[in-house]
Amino acid sequence: MADIILEMRGISKSFPGVKALDRVNFRVKRGEIHCLVGENGAGKTTLMKVLSGVHPYGTYEGDIVLNGEVQRFHGIRDSEGASIAIISQELALIPDLTIYENIFFGHELMKGRLVDWHRTILESEKILKKVRLDVNPTTKVGALRVGAQQLVEIAKTLSKNAKIIILDEPTSSLNEEDSDNLLRLLRELRDDGATIIMISHRLREVVKIADTVTVLRDGTTVCSLDASEKKITEREIIRHMVGREIENIYPKRERRPSDAVLFEVRNFSARNPSTGRSVLKNVSLNVRRGEIVGLAGLMGAGRTELALALFGNTPGYRIASGEVFLEGAPVRFSKPSEAIAAGVAYASEDRKKNGLILIQDICFNITLANLRSLLKGIVIDRNEEVVQANRYKEDLRIKAPSIQQTVLNLSGGNQQKTSLAKWLFARPKLLILDEPTRGIDVGAKYEIYTIMNELVKSGMSIIMISSELMEILGMSDRIYVMSEGAITGELDARDATEEGIMEFATNTKEAVANG
């Protein structure tokens, strides 16, 4: 029999109105990479929170058995004591502290009663080398890319000598290159003897890396697939996840955007006045009516900055020059409310920070950006509001007992859907989607793509920012590629390839020439 390091037996966990886990069984072999997959709200994060003591002993039913012994974790400290470390869906680093302070935060290296900073820095350097992060440990974490921050999180777990490392959607906010690096690192850690549990919605990487795949559906274990004997396919996983076959990941659509240009940007530049650095360099692009325009590029290429600047929100930098036209008329939005009133919407990539009012319920969030349409005189028509919110909850299959559920209590993917629902309800002319399917399961992705197709069919235009090249290729009519604040290429989606996009995305030479 295989060497089982961890077994979770018959785990059940309820929240008010929701049974998140229902007698889940979960077995992990020593030294494997075990992927946990399932639709949004299936209970993956909850299961891992039970394992790591975030939901303490006594708030769930069932047993956690580690190396043959039943464990009772009363908090995250207990699970760390048992060499289990979790990197949660939202990174838990402190941006204002340096890398080495973050790595040893909470278990500082001491010399007597004082922190031994010298040794801390030396140790940090060693660990950083292990995770292949080539930066000075005295850098502030806030200055790092998300990919690098992810590596710091892993360095932190290594510094705690964790034997079991849990990662909750570690690659969802990484681009392909950073993801590949991370996956390579996970393999190395496994080969060094660590056991890794990873939650992911990116099935492509799951089949690439997993030794075992466990599928959860509606709070129960559907199956555990062993990849060591026979290769698992994405199709197979999807079938277990959603309980049916999904033929195409990208729904078909007739591509016939009209020739009428809806939105145009000419020679748009912006710079950061305090550092003098150019954020956007001479950007020109246009979007036709009924067109989906993909905006590709590496992390930090300036895509989000461009979107925000067009949307009227430019904290920390100034628009230096450029013109923007909406339906042929020049516009310049000085705040988001003006942009929304004119019919331009921007769905943020960071749903927690910029997308949602977490302490309010689903209904409040869905209608917030378009309350005007619900007004009867000066009063919000509550009836109509509930009808509309329920409609979007159903359309997007937001999993919650009712639209009264506080958004804070939703699973990550369902939060993302709520954030999208808000903008769908706002019915803009131009919708800018920033990483719209981050953390969303395959089934829901398909639904979102279908909705996008319906929207453009009805005449709306969409700019889609995405780090997933497959998604850009699968959904766009036209693709712009950005690098270092400049547009480095424009491609027709019909003859674009991943390699072609990557070439433009890493093409810094032209970017400099343009700027």
Partner: protein, 397 residues
Amino acid sequence: MDDNRARGLPGEVWALLKGNIRNYAMYLALMALFILFTILTDGAFITARNLTNLINQTGYVAVMACGMTLVLIIQQIDLSIGYVAGFLGACAATLLSRGVAVPLVLPLILLAGIAIGSLEGLIIGKVGVPAFVTTLACQFIFRGMLSLVTESTGTILVKSDAFNQISNGFLPPVFRMGPMHGLSLVVGALSIALIVWSRLRARRDLKKYRFRTTSAPVFWATLLLFAAVIGVLSYVLANYRGVSWTIVVVVLVAFVYDFMMRRTRLGRHIYGMGGNREAALLSGVDTQKILLFVFASMGMLAGLGGVLFTSRLQSATPTSGSGFELDAIASCYIGGVSTSGGIGKVTNSIIGSFVIMSLTNGLNLMGVGITYQYVIKGIIFILAVAFDVRSRAKKAI
């Protein structure tokens, strides 16, 4: 709902109390204070005369707590309102002593309040000076201004009878029912009818939307309790001098603000901005405008508070207004406004102001000196906030 049914009625009541202890805390506190002071003062506290007094004293804190609720919801603070109220009250007294008519004085004072609040709002929103600093500085400025106004005369007496009626007068005794003030009884009955009607309507809507509702027995029991409290209160008041104008003013302000916060777009935007400013901004909430509005409204209500207070004392003194800001802020926190913003109800803050003023009133009756009152209030304030923070932290897990 399903779990509730399984556990039966006692289970539901218990779950309701446990899950929403934060929402009931102010009622419990109010009840505890009433019982405590009734015992400690040998019943003097619960007399019709004292209850009328208590209500009229609470008026100015209640209206300012309304405005402060909005300020705290958007995660700001206004420390200046005490002396702004004092200053504007003194201005009113001065205008009246110069023979300006009451119908002219009131709008002038409210407008001045709006102007002061807007100015603070502009400094906070446009210039970017934190609210704490701006309003603390304004506290000093208006303390100085108040001294300036009252410098030559010391206390300014208000001789206008109409003005003094605002906080000391009662609805006219149009007709009597036996020994009782008839109009007050009618007002009481009407408010009970109104509350029953609106609660029933709200419940019907909740059912229609298939939202969570309390079970029928619990719903009717709370409704009955509410009706009984209002009934008893109006009966007691009617036996004395009836419903005071202060009650009318507070109810009016509460109604307008409650309506605005629950039913209008503006109210939603205020809650949204309080819950997550960045997300609200990106959802089209004009956060600058909201901030300006909230401070302007606070200024206006500080003006109203000043009027109520000056009218109550029938004079303006060089120290009027000192400490009002703390009473208003404490009222809000006792009434369940979250210390991290985004959550709160004006009606509950008004209940909170009754808690604070019952404390003041009771301590006065017992003859506890003002110095000790400061100490006690300070401690209560910290306890209220500590309770808020702890109970919310527990809920978050």
